[in-house]
Amino acid sequence: MAVQETASQLSMALKVQEYPTLKVPYETLNKRFRAAQKNIDREASHVTMVVAELEKTLSSFPAVDSVVSLLDGVVEKLSALKRKAAESIQAEDESAKLCKRRIEHLKEHSGDQPASVNLWKKKRMDRMMVEHLLRCGYYNTAVKLAKQSGIESCLEFSLRIQEFIELIRQNKRMDAVRHARKHFSQAEGGQLDEVRQVMGMLAFPSDTHISPYKDLLDPARWKMLIQQFRYDNYRLHQLGNNSVFTITLQAGLSAIKTPQCYKEDGTSKNPDCPVCSKSLNKLAQPLPMAHCANSRLVCKISGEVMNENNPPMMLPNGYVYGYNSLLSIRQDDKVVCPRTKEVFNFSQAEKVYIM
């Protein structure tokens, strides 16, 4: 690999690149916590209500039957609370575990096996490409790439739910059913709850006033979803979607870009230089160049660096080559400039000092 990152450099890159990687699953955890609290509070208040009713009845010499039926009511509400609490905890646990998996994956950047570090680096690039593709709205590509690279994306399911809702809103119910069959058959755990809820929407017209279905169809829910996907799936209809991928790419292109990549006659293009390659050349044009405070000369003939071991020599036509290369192309004490084909005497080459 041309670019060699040390372990500490990888660590530094983590700090600037991985905020979205962790923040997004965290926001899901937060959201699930709030939902769980709401559920528990609600069921708890139901329990309190039936218990209050029982207490009231008891103070007025009731018949056994009515007490028994009230007790049944208490059992029912207690069971509901137990069930709801268990489901909520499971959903919270799931999203906390996703956060943990993300962290564990990030920790793998500092393995001592170069093969595993390389694999991590490759996955890193794939991860950020997936995020970028999601931002652009290229969902199918993103999902497929994620699968092929073995990346776990927490977005896919929520995306599918939202697409389902959109289909209902546009009254494309048959499409919605097909969509559900295709994407929701594998749902389990906390996801199953959400699936049940949105499937109920099929029974109601899209201008329903019945909440929670009304809430789901509310355009404000799109806004909420966009906020939630702030870093992963920020689909703006205007321009401007700076994913970590594009920012990294811009910085990288700038660090490589030199004036030689843009010489008009194209004589200085190097097929190995990324900025000289077709599409990146156009992309890198408006970007700043690399800052070079120290000279480095590379011989056009051999690709070797020109330094005190291979001093730079200037031919009368102004072109500079390494001493070793001139020796190697010398024939009968003459050299032919590879770029202009002019012939000079070997002795005409002058040493230049670039410090």
Partner: protein
């Protein structure tokens, strides 16, 4: 690493609290359910006898109180976990940088045209990696159209590499034979190496393959002059075929990393033939960005602290040098030793008669400032002690290309 560990610590705490809460709520609720069911059973059993009812009444009243308290407690215990959850968020905020777009010019790629180039680059990269169906999907979703002539080489490259990974040398050999002349022009020994590897794979099949191996050795003939030694070694190994090559002095022939190596050699030669870089330009640029970003973020912070934000205008050059390593020296760069700036078309490198090269701007400064001129002259002459920078210079020549320098123009220095 420390950043990850920080967040992980808080997460572990949260996970632990969820588990504890889960157990606790289940236990308590089960208890409550049991006692209510108990009471109900008793009630049904005893029928309508007042005395029992009054005892039961007390129990029921107690039970109701219990239920209310427990349920209240469960709701508020869950609320308490919120503190731990938000600590995770705070740990993330503290250890990772939320805003990094300030180090680049944010909107510079925001035109549909540039987005298209970006998608094109990604598609090319995907073809290179052999992820053909993902590339097709992206073409479809982004509307990018890639010429078949551009796709074709990668499709073929990947086909051959796939086969090589399965230790099937035939597609690679076919390709090498078809491109024989061009490979020889490149001084590539790919074809020979492929034959050699095939021969070795026959050898590892044991004594039964002896005839086959001998017959295959005919393929070495065209390479006899260039690879004489190698061929001798290969043929020599036949002696040990009966007793097993792995026990002979030729056991190094059986090393398994040769297969990985042939993939690399093939990739390198094929890319050279096609005029392509061996590595995906997108991979290299991205990796270089991973190194550049932290450096840029640092300098940005320093600039902000010192309140000299005019220093970095995003326009022409990055504010700081980023060391990517020698393998990334794709082009020559000349930086004037005096002004420490890169030279350009408008500020080209100039060679003085003593052989030193400085930028034209530096040269102008030198000739315009008398006193400074002599100090600088002393510095430049450090290698050639006896030569002064002359008062007259040679005539100008037009600059062309990389690392060409002009010889400085005729000028007389009146002050010197």
């Amino acid at each position: 690493m420390e950043q990850c560990l920080c967040v992980e610590r808080e997460l572990e705490k949260v996970l632990h609290r969820f588990v504890t809460y889960g157990h606790q709520s289940e236990e308590r609720l089960d208890e409550l359910l049991r006692s209510v069911c108990d009471i109900r059973a008793q009630l049904v059993a005893f029928g309508v006898q007042d005395a029992d009812l009054s005892v039961l009444s007390q129990t029921m009243a107690q039970c109701c109180k219990n239920i209310k308290e427990t349920v209240q407690m469960l709701a508020s215990r869950h609320k308490d976990i919120h503190g731990s959850v938000s600590k995770v968020g705070k740990a993330i905020d503290r250890n990772f940088d939320a805003e990094i777009s300030a180090v680049v010019a944010e909107t510079v790629w925001d035109t549909p045209e540039r987005q298209k180039y970006l998608s094109e680059t990604i598609v090319e990269h995907l073809y290179r990696q052999g992820m053909l169906s993902v590339a097709e999907d992206l073409c479809q979703e982004s509307g990018v159209v890639i010429d078949m002539s551009m796709k074709q080489p990668f499709l073929e490259l990947n086909r051959i590499l796939e086969a090589l990974r399965m230790q099937d040398l035939r597609p690679a050999l076919e390709w090498a034979v078809t491109n024989r002349q061009r490979l020889l022009d490149l001084n590539s020994s790919l074809e020979f190496k492929l034959h050699r590897l095939y021969f070795i794979s026959l050898l590892s099949g044991g004594i039964g393959n002896q005839m086959q191996a001998l017959q295959y050795a005919r393929h070495f003939q065209p390479f006899a002059s260039q690879h004489q030694r190698d061929i001798q070694i290969l043929m020599g190994s036949l002696v040990y075929l009966r007793h097993g090559i792995e026990n002979s002095p030729y056991r190094s022939l059986l090393e398994t990393n040769q297969w990985a190596e042939i993939c690399n050699i093939f990739t390198r030669d094929a890319c050279a033939l096609l005029g392509l870089s061996v590595e995906s330009p997108l991979s290299v640029s991205f990796a270089s960005g991973c190194m550049a970003l932290p450096v840029l973020m640092n300098i940005k912070q320093v600039i902000e602290q010192r309140q000299c934000s005019g220093v970095w205008t995003h326009k022409d050059e990055l504010p700081i040098e980023i060391d990517l390593g020698k393998k990334c020296w794709y082009h020559s760069v000349f930086a004037c030793p005096i002004l420490r700036q890169q030279t350009s078309e408008s500020n080209p490198p100039m060679k003085l008669i003593c052989g030193h090269v400085i930028s034209r701007d530096a040269l102008n400064k030198l000739t315009n400032a008398g006193k400074t001129g002599s100090l600088l002259r002393a510095r430049l002459s450090q290698v050639e002690q006896t030569r002064d920078i002359p008062q007259t210079f040679d005539a100008e020549q037009r600059i062309e290309g990389e690392t060409q320098t002009r010889t400085a123009p005729d000028r007389s220095l009146s002050e010197v």
